[in-house]
């Protein structure tokens, strides 16, 4: 019942309220409908659960209280996403002092109801891995996709642990270069 709201809203100028839009019954409905998408989004942007959970918590603690319950489903989602964007930016500023990842793509000005997750992550990762030399690709697959320890990965590839570490380091650097190249 909620799915069509974003579609309708997208066609409208921003800031206008439509008559008869879907609204949430209460804050718990807002929570149930959005907890999954906000957490998935944060996980995709920070890559670990402890931080993804903290940031998701921060989004809901920040956004839920001042939220107008009369706002449409689309507006609520946009608001949560917008809050997530600032929360993520603050997180990077606080931790690494650089914006490593952003929610800017998800929150383009022209799309008030953007995609709630990043379905392209596996595709992008595959594209990056495909660009790497065989051994680089292999070590990253073993470590990142195969959940191998460095020791297991080394054994799998028939190299010493020290070599595996060097390989991983170089592979990730090259993957980073490839990824940057794809963005620009």
């Amino acid at each position: 019942m909620v799915g069509s709201v974003g579609e309708r809203q997208r066609a409208e100028p921003r800031g206008l309220h439509l008559v008869g839009e879907e609204v949430y019954a209460d804050w718990e409905a807002v929570y149930r409908d959005n907890i999954g998408r906000i957490h998935r989004l944060m996980y995709a942007k920070v890559g670990n659960r402890p931080d993804a959970e903290d940031l998701t918590t921060e989004v809901f603690l920040t956004a839920l209280r001042p939220l107008r319950i009369s706002a449409s489903v689309g507006e609520v989602r946009s608001y949560l996403l917008a809050t997530a964007r600032t929360v993520l930016a603050d997180y990077w500023r606080r931790t690494l002092g650089r914006e490593i990842t952003t929610l800017d793509e998800e929150l383009g000005m022209s799309t008030p109801e953007p995609a709630p997750t990043d379905p392209t992550a596996p595709a992008r990762a595959a594209a990056i891995l495909a660009e790497l030399p065989e051994r680089y690709r292999r070590i990253l697959e073993l470590r990142f996709l195969g959940a191998c320890s460095i020791k297991e990965a080394a054994a799998e590839m028939g190299v010493s642990i020290g070599n595996a570490k060097v390989l991983q380091h170089r592979a990730l650097r090259q993957a980073a270069t490839v990824a940057e190249g794809m963005l620009s």
Partner: protein, 218 residues
């Protein structure tokens, strides 16, 4: 190989909270690539425990609201303040919106209020800006020399809560990328029509504290 960026990536791979460090450009790119690869492996569904525990925390938070108390607010005197109250919806109810003319001085003044201390004077040094939230009124306090002042923390566009960017001295709206200067004037916006400046909240110093004028507590 125990470089900070190596440790960071190993923390990610182990599912731990990664340790902070100051990455250079090259490190940052590696961290970014590592996060992308992690996200490719795991769609990041929240755990049931987390969903339940955050729910409980929010429930406690939302129960702490006192709607009856909040509704005693507000007498507003300008169109801009009316926009604030409309945006804030259930939390802030207008009882009297007087004029729609472009206002010069927007003040958010309760018809029946009291001075409430927000922060010790010493904790608001010259040039600083601090957020405050007293339930019915949330805003940002600021000191310029001897003068203290406060503006509302609610965007005059659709009522989203503004966030302080202290280094830039801006109040940013997370909803539509509007930003205000800390004195309440509009800084930037991407809206068809410029939103009004932020209403001021009355503020003063008394007995070593900075106080704001807000509706009385129930």
């Amino acid at each position: 190989m125990k470089t900070p960026v190596w440790r960071y990536v190993e923390d990610l791979l182990a599912g731990r909270r990664p340790r902070r460090f100051r990455p250079d450009e090259d490190d940052a790119a590696q961290v970014r690539a590592a996060i992308l690869l992690r996200a490719a492996e795991d769609p990041g569904e929240p755990s049931a425990e987390f969903v339940a525990s955050l729910h409980d925390r929010l429930a406690a938070e939302m129960d702490g609201e006192k709607p009856a108390n909040r509704r005693r607010f507000v007498k507003v005197t300008t169109a801009a303040a009316a926009a604030v109250a409309v945006g804030a919806g259930v939390d802030h109810v207008i009882t009297d919106a007087v004029t729609a003319a472009a206002p010069k001085d927007q003040n958010l003044v309760p018809d029946d209020g009291e001075w409430r201390p927000v922060v010790a004077s010493a904790d608001l040094p010259d040039g600083s800006v601090r957020p405050f939230d007293l339930g019915a009124v949330a805003g940002f306090l600021r000191r310029d020399g001897a003068e203290v002042s406060a503006v509302s923390a609610v965007c005059t566009h659709l009522g989203c809560r503004l966030r302080l960017d202290a280094p830039e001295r801006k109040l940013n709206c997370p909803c539509h990328r509007t930003s205000f200067n800390v004195d309440g004037s509009l800084a930037t916006h991407e809206l068809p029509v410029a939103p009004p400046p932020l209403p001021h909240v009355l503020a003063r110093e008394s007995n070593g504290h900075v106080e704001v004028f807000v509706p009385p507590s129930a």
